[in-house]
């Protein structure tokens, strides 16, 4: 078709309709070629351009004007030109700049993942693992804020915020009236309601789903469980709110519903619902419908993202085929334990490898 534009990203060519951004073209290719995005959200107009993690190098502007672009560009906000050539992971400049951006995002981040509800499904964790360096060069006090309760359902932990603006766009575009925004500027800018105030709108819960980090968390789920211990299932209900798609994901343990969220796609964004609506859900579904009997459960969710929430969850799981013996190169697993005999740390009369329970401190000398 003639109205499709050709773009080559990391030497892979795809055709996309005019107006497509480089990022979305790269997502068509998928995998490593898709730049990471911390602020862009395809379902939110005007989002993107801010975090700078999606920077790419345009080595050829277009067929008509083949000059390279002088600076790296934000792929989420740059539209494709016919014949464009883009380098993402094949560009050392991009890798270097992205490294810098990850470092910048982390210098003031508390790294309190062990006590953060977002851990396991956090875009910043994924980004850090994939593009960051270990260790920090930042030797100063990190910026901190007090936690703020935005009503009964949402808690704002501003210290973790990366200023992606997504929650502001949600409030602008999904709710009747935005009640929070950005106060101040620069590194003292913060998400706030000015005078501490509750967020009321019946769609405001979606800010939790779009927040890439643990800055906005679900108070009905806070500290109740770790996401990787819960099992996500797809479920729907007949929601009376006309804007709500009624299709959600329940995060369960046994029969207990710990949390309700929108369904997410492989880029961590809410999915289209089967009725054609964008998959946003209302506060009633999210916060107040927490019994399994309120929902029609469809089956286990497909989680095809890299993070730990996909562990053991049905899709893309590679089960080892080797035997233990093969992995141990023929050694007996018991030998691992025998080292304690050698070093005489355990009571000589106990063979740890035959204990039918975890070893306990009293088993040692």
């Amino acid at each position: 078709m003639s109205d499709l534009l050709k773009i080559t990203i990391d030497n892979i060519t795809v055709e996309v309709p005019a107006g497509t951004t480089i990022l979305n073209a790269a997502r068509q290719i998928g995998g490593e070629v898709a730049p990471p995005a911390m602020c862009y959200y395809s379902k939110l107009a005007d989002s993107g351009g801010k975090c700078r993690t999606c920077l790419v190098e345009v080595s050829k502007g277009s067929e008509k004007d083949p000059r390279p672009m002088p600076k790296l560009v934000a792929s989420c906000r740059t539209t494709v030109m016919d014949g464009m050539e883009v380098k993402n992971i094949t560009s050392p400049k991009v890798i270097d700049a992205r490294n810098g951006v990850v470092e910048f995002l982390l210098i003031n981040h508390p790294l309190d993942c062990p006590v953060c509800d977002q851990a396991g499904e956090c875009d910043l964790q994924d980004l850090g693992y994939n593009h960051g360096k270990e260790g920090t060069r930042y030797e100063f006090k990190r910026r901190t804020f007090h936690k703020v309760d935005l009503g009964d359902y949402i808690q704002l932990h501003m210290t973790r915020c990366i200023m992606c603006f997504r929650c502001v766009f949600v409030a602008d575009q999904l709710t009747e009236k935005r009640e929070h925004g950005i106060l101040d500027r620069g590194d003292h800018a913060q998400i706030a309601t000015l005078i501490e105030k509750n967020l009321h709108n019946d769609f405001i819960g979606n800010v939790i789903d779009v927040c890439p980090v643990g800055a906005l968390t679900d108070k009905t789920f806070r500290f109740k469980n770790r996401v990787w211990f819960t099992k996500p299932v797809d479920a729907h209900r007949n929601c009376s709110n006309p804007k709500c798609c009624g299709e959600a994901q329940l995060w369960m343990r046994g029969d207990e519903v710990f949390r309700v969220t929108a369904r997410k796609d492989e880029w961590g964004e809410v999915k289209e619902a089967s009725n054609g609506k964008t998959g946003w859900i209302c506060n009633t579904c999210r916060f107040e419908t927490k019994k399994a009997i309120d929902w029609t459960i469809e089956g286990p969710s497909v989680v095809n993202r890299h993070s730990v929430i996909s562990q053991g969850h049905y899709v893309g799981v590679i089960k080892p085929t080797e035997t233990f013996n093969a992995v141990m190169k023929g050694r007996d697993p018991k030998l691992l334990m025998d080292i304690h005999d050698e070093s005489e740390v355990n009571k000589p009369n106990i063979d740890l490898s035959v204990l039918d329970r975890p070893a306990h401190s009293t088993d040692f000398n």
Partner: protein
């Protein structure tokens, strides 16, 4: 004495008032433009003049004007950028304070050329008294038929409004300015679309600096060719320089761009030499964002040629050995100034003024400030200098708007040219608290950093 085009009448008593301004030949360009010229002809004249934007980037004004989109039935706007918040720059203030009618005159002609029936002056909040001066001038111009409906019977309508900012440097960036003018938070927009296509209220908009717009008056009066005869190369016409720092005569000077930097600093016609008989150590020649140069590289280029006060010559050598004309804020540092402290002060400014939208600028500016503070207070390490270099490198070019670059360049230039001084601070934590590094070799014959 070089030719003055803008400030020629600045010292006429009461030139601020309409009657005096008119008697001195004011508003002639409006008569000429509206009665005898087409908008296209005016744009052509401005193109011929070679006038370059005086707000910092030096983009050719005529070219910018010719880019403005002209969709059917959509109003267009001219916005004058009077946000002037760059440390060291105070030329627009002088123009507006003493010659408010010159700005209005330029705006009416420019609005006619661009087809803007409603034009704005966006002025920094701290210039409160100048807002009053401008509003009074607008009232006078209106009462005398230079603004309003059907000006001079030409069928052209024009209104000018003054909008005060709230004191944010970032609102000088043209798209942040437009956001602020629309009543929103002054965050720079992501470009494209450029203002010439979608600016104020999503309409085609041209944003120009105060000085750029006032320069349109002599261009129309005398013709673009006459204007282009002044100056050299692509630095045509006259330029206002606001000189400050350790000089005998700080102030706003109008120069034609053929004089040398040395003459500008030492001649009694301009800065009058370094104050208190001290020696020149360094200079930031174009407002706080442009690279600082040590004395030796300031007066002569790396090739050994005399450096002139114009766009090309100041930029000669690129960032390795040159700097930029910028907005014309000329900051002179004498032998007693500490480069580390100076760099810290600038870093603090940019940290404070970053809008916080994009991560490299929001986080990087604060980090640089903190490191510079520890070096300045004697707690720095050698590795901090390399770290600073790496941070600025990762900010530059990777941000939404040029404030990121503006924050990175001063740090980069200071380390590039004054690395020994940073190292001395680290090696002599105690001594650096009681005395300055001094002149060192910076005033020596050309010293080109590796």
């Amino acid at each position: 004495m070089s030719k003055k085009l803008l400030l020629e009448k600045a010292h006429v008593e009461n030139i601020r008032l309409y009657d005096v301004y008119r008697r001195e030949g004011g508003y002639r360009s409006v008569e000429k433009a509206l009665k005898t010229m087409s908008p296209e002809a005016i744009v052509e004249e401005v193109k011929k003049s070679g006038l370059r934007g005086r707000g910092g980037a030096g983009f050719p004004a005529g070219m910018k004007w010719s880019f403005i989109a002209k969709p059917e039935g959509v109003p267009r706007h001219l916005v004058v950028n009077a946000d002037e918040s760059e440390p060291g720059t105070f030329k627009d203030r002088y123009l507006m304070e003493f010659l408010p009618h010159l700005l209005l005159e330029g705006m009416i002609v420019s609005s006619f050329a661009l087809g803007s029936n409603v034009s704005y002056i966006y002025i920094r909040g701290e210039y409160a008294w100048i807002t009053d001066i401008l509003e009074q001038a607008i009232d006078e111009a209106k009462a005398n038929g230079w603004l309003g409906k059907n000006i001079l019977g030409s069928g052209f309508d024009c209104e000018i409004y003054v909008q005060r900012g709230a004191g944010a440097y970032i609102c000088g960036e043209e798209t942040a300015l437009i956001e602020s003018l629309e009543g929103k938070r002054g965050n720079p927009r992501i470009k494209p679309p450029f203002p010439a296509v979608q600016g104020l209220w999503k309409r085609p908009t041209v944003v120009n600096n105060v000085e750029t717009i006032t320069a349109v008056v002599p261009i129309i009066n005398d013709g673009g060719d006459e204007y282009a005869k002044i100056g050299v190369g692509k630095s045509t016409g006259t330029k206002l320089i606001s000189a400050c720092g350790n000089i005998n005569k700080p102030g706003v000077y109008e120069i034609d761009m053929t004089i040398s930097v040395e003459e500008f600093i030492y001649s009694d016609e301009w800065c009058g030499g370094i104050a208190n008989g001290k020696k020149l150590k360094a200079c930031i020649p174009g407002g706080s964002s442009v690279p600082i140069l040590p004395a030796n590289l300031l007066l002569k280029t790396a090739k050994g040629e005399t450096r002139l006060m114009n766009y090309e010559s100041l930029a000669d050598g690129g960032f390795a050995t040159g700097s930029m004309m910028g907005s014309g804020g000329f900051i002179v540092l004498d032998e007693d100034q500490c480069i580390v402290k100076n760099t810290f002060t600038l870093a603090r400014f940019y940290r404070h003024e970053s809008c916080g939208q994009c991560s490299p600028c929001r986080e990087g500016t604060g980090w640089m400030e903190k490191i510079l503070w520890s070096i300045e207070t004697g707690k720095g390490k050698k590795s901090d200098i390399d770290l600073l270099w790496d941070i600025q490198r990762k900010i530059e070019g990777n941000t939404i708007c040029p404030l990121g670059d503006a924050a990175a360049w001063p740090v980069a230039a200071a380390i590039r040219h004054f690395r020994d001084e940073f190292e001395w601070h680290v090696d002599n934590p105690q001594e650096s608290q009681i005395r300055n590094f001094g002149l060192a070799h910076y005033a020596d014959e050309i010293h080109i950093p590796a």
